[in-house]
């Protein structure tokens, strides 16, 4: 039996290759999506507590740290959205649309949904 050598795989495997680093950035987006959902949950709670409590929540959203968080979250959720649609063709069972078409459909749907949502809240 040959004494084979196993190179250890550490938690730092992703640092050595740009492809892996982009993958980890994509995965990191989920931390911000989770945090955002929890912020909304807190807002919902404040809503049930009455006008003053809720207005306190919306005022807190204006604090510099909140704005900074949402800026990062916005960039990462856009990256999530882009990578989601880039990968989606691989998951779909066969559809007679080329991969580029599926990505285009996804991005268009996001743009349309964004416009619709904006109009609804205005």
């Amino acid at each position: 039996m040959i004494k084979t050598y196993r190179r250890p795989v550490t938690g730092a495997w992703w640092q050595h290759n740009p492809f892996y680093r982009w993958y980890m950035l994509r995965e990191l987006s989920c931390v911000f999506i989770t945090a955002y959902a929890l912020i909304l949950l807190v807002g919902l709670y404040r809503l049930t507590q009455g006008a003053q409590a809720f207005e306190g929540w919306t005022a807190a959203l204006g604090a510099p740290v909140a704005l900074a968080f949402h800026a990062v979250a916005l960039v990462l959720v856009i990256y999530h959205s882009w990578t989601w649609f880039k990968v989606m063709p691989k998951t779909l069972p066969f559809v007679p649309v080329p991969d580029r078409g599926i990505v285009a459909l996804g991005v268009s749907a996001t743009l349309i949904a964004s416009v619709v949502l904006w109009i609804l809240v205005l």
Binding site: Y5, N17, T91
Partner: protein
């Protein structure tokens, strides 16, 4: 005009070494020389003990996989001119035990391959007729049949690196190759593996495997198509009987 490039090769001799070391060799090259030819130059002129696998020199046998500057690549279809001025780091494929120098132990892959039952289990006996298949039916599985078992995808897959029990890209792509073949009726038998944690669920769609595959197999697609199949199987199994 001959230029020179340094190749930093991982060396490991199981009989004498506790761990691998790197040795640098200066290789004169012309623009038409592949990395494989660079390794052959080292073996022929500089250090006859350098050990590496190769055969066809044309990206069809799958023998010459290596990490070239950290990227899983076939050394026969990558050229020294593209790494100039270098140095070019040449290491054995990641995620496999090293037997000697650049030669890895593929046994785990061979077990995984066997486990997906990579053979045709005919859906129906065509009798004296040959199996017939339309071009469209061939297109359903053709790309997955192009796998040359070069193992670049296993070197690329961090999930395989973190957990060796994962069946892995090539084996799952070959599983899908048979499931998608209109002549095959064995999908039911292969589902047990597909549905397991070691099956498709070990994949997190890094998709570096598809990025490095030299034959355009797109194993990431093969694995993830089966996440949908596995999900359907999970929720609909109570109805099917």
């Amino acid at each position: 005009m001959t230029r020179k490039i340094q190749l930093e090769c991982l060396r490991y001799n199981p009989e004498t070494d506790a761990e691998p070391v790197y040795r640098t060799y200066e290789v004169p090259f012309t623009d038409d020389m592949s990395v494989l030819q660079g390794l052959q130059y080292i073996k022929d002129h500089l250090d006859g003990s350098l050990t590496f696998r190769w055969s066809c020199r044309m990206a069809i046998c799958g023998s010459c996989g290596a990490m070239l500057n950290g990227e899983p690549s076939l050394s026969c279809e990558n050229f020294l001119r593209d790494y100039y001025p270098g140095p070019l780091r040449v290491e054995p494929l990641n995620n496999f035990p090293i037997m000697r120098d650049l030669a890895i132990d593929q046994s785990d892959f061979l077990r995984k391959l066997e486990s997906v039952k990579p053979w045709l289990m005919p859906a129906a006996d065509p009798g004296k007729e040959p199996h017939r298949q339309t071009p469209a039916q061939l297109a359903d599985y053709y790309q997955y049949s192009q796998c040359i078992n070069c193992l670049l995808c296993y070197a690329a897959c961090p999930q395989y690196g973190l957990n060796e029990s994962f069946t892995g890209p090539a084996a799952l792509a070959l599983l899908h190759r048979y499931n998608a073949d209109s002549r095959d009726g064995g999908a039911g038998e292969r589902m047990k593996l597909v549905n397991a944690e070691e099956g498709v669920w070990g994949c997190t769609l890094v998709s570096y495997c598809s990025e490095v595959c030299p034959k355009g197999v797109d194993p990431a697609r093969a694995v993830n198509q089966n996440k949908v199949n596995s999900t359907k199987d999970y929720f609909l199994r109570f109805l099917a009987r």
